[in-house]
Amino acid sequence: MGVHTAHNAESSDHAAVSHQFEDIGQQNEIYIVGMWTFLVTEIMFFGVLFFAYVLYRWKFGDVFYEAHKVLNVRLGFINTTVLLTSSLFMALGVRSAMLKNRKMTLFWLISVIVCAFAFMVIKYFEYSAKIAAHEIPGPFFQWHGPGSAGQAEIFFSLYFAMTGLHGIHVLIGIITLGILAWMVAVKHKAVDDYMPIEMFGLYWHFVDIVWIFLFPLFYLMPHG
């Protein structure tokens, strides 16, 4: 244990082992646990919306069923596939980082970005179609299907709130991925260790899990 000067305490953040930790093993375990506790907050965050969805679907089941027909299952399906694939790429990226294969890490990270981007583009088309059809809640909302317009509006409120929040997470993911990829490309020492990529991977897989639920809940609503 070296002598810690005050200066040392400030600047050793970039070293492989931060000053507050004993060794890399402790540090890695702490990072993983820390990331999971963060994901716990994310679960509760999305959880409220999922709960609201269940509540309203239980109450307004019929109209929800009618409203869900407006959504494009084909696009939803493609998007799910895209996201699942991106999750695979992410896992492979983390694996390459563990194996200290910088080139492959970069390759997989960029593949994830491409997938995420594709996802957003598809989402954009879906959203614009909804907006054009006045299926966005608010003053311009129109509902021509059977059942109560108000209840349909709540369906679309939930649809936009949930997929929107998910989309924001994807967006944040894209930005972070860009930074990570750049760091890997320039051999930044912060990504010497695989941990930053692994942590981001956890985030990305979580975002994927959210979509795994959103897809059946919104696009594949069975009657009954």
């Binding site: 004993e22 060794d23 890399i24 093993g25 402790q26 890695n28 375990e29 993983i32 646990v33 999971w36 506790t37 994901l39 716990v40 907050t41 994310e42 679960i43 509760m44 959880g47 409220v48 999922f50 709960f51 269940v54 509540l55 239980w58 109450k59 299952v73 399906f77 799910t80 596939t81 699942l84 694939t85 999750s87 695979l88 992410m90 896992a91 492979l92 694996r95 563990m98 194996l99 695989y194 692994e198 991977g201 956890l202 897989h205 979580f206 994927d208 899990i209 795994i212 639920f213 897809f215 059946p216 809940l217 594949l220 609503m221 069975p222 009657h223 009954g224």
Partner: protein, 102 residues
């Protein structure tokens, strides 16, 4: 404390990822296919069971919880369990005096 558990983080085998991914794709097809069959109230059960299976696959293999420490298991489970607590609220909606609406 015992810091050694994660010391030697062996990269998981490629095969595992491919298997997980294939499982996810199969499940995706399955859930879409099932949604065209009318199973009545079972529909929701099936759809959610499949989603949970997919989630477990992602958590255990992609996110590496399977190989993680006890603490990681604990926190990974905590969030999902606590989320279910929210459904306690439904009790109110089931027993509200008003029959219609809320």
């Amino acid at each position: 404390m015992d810091h050694s558990e994660n010391q030697a983080h062996h990269a998981p085998p490629l095969k595992m990822f491919i298997a997980t991914f294939s499982f996810l794709l199969v499940m995706l097809w399955l859930t879409v296919a099932v949604s065209y069959v009318n199973l009545g109230p079972l529909n929701n059960v099936v759809a959610m069971t499949i989603a949970v299976a997919k989630m477990m696959a992602v958590i255990l293999y992609f996110m590496g919880v399977k190989a993680g420490s006890k603490l990681v298991w604990f926190w990974a489970a905590a969030g999902f369990i606590w989320f279910l607590l929210m459904f306690f609220t439904l009790g109110d909606y089931m027993f509200r005096p008003n029959v219609v609406g809320w």
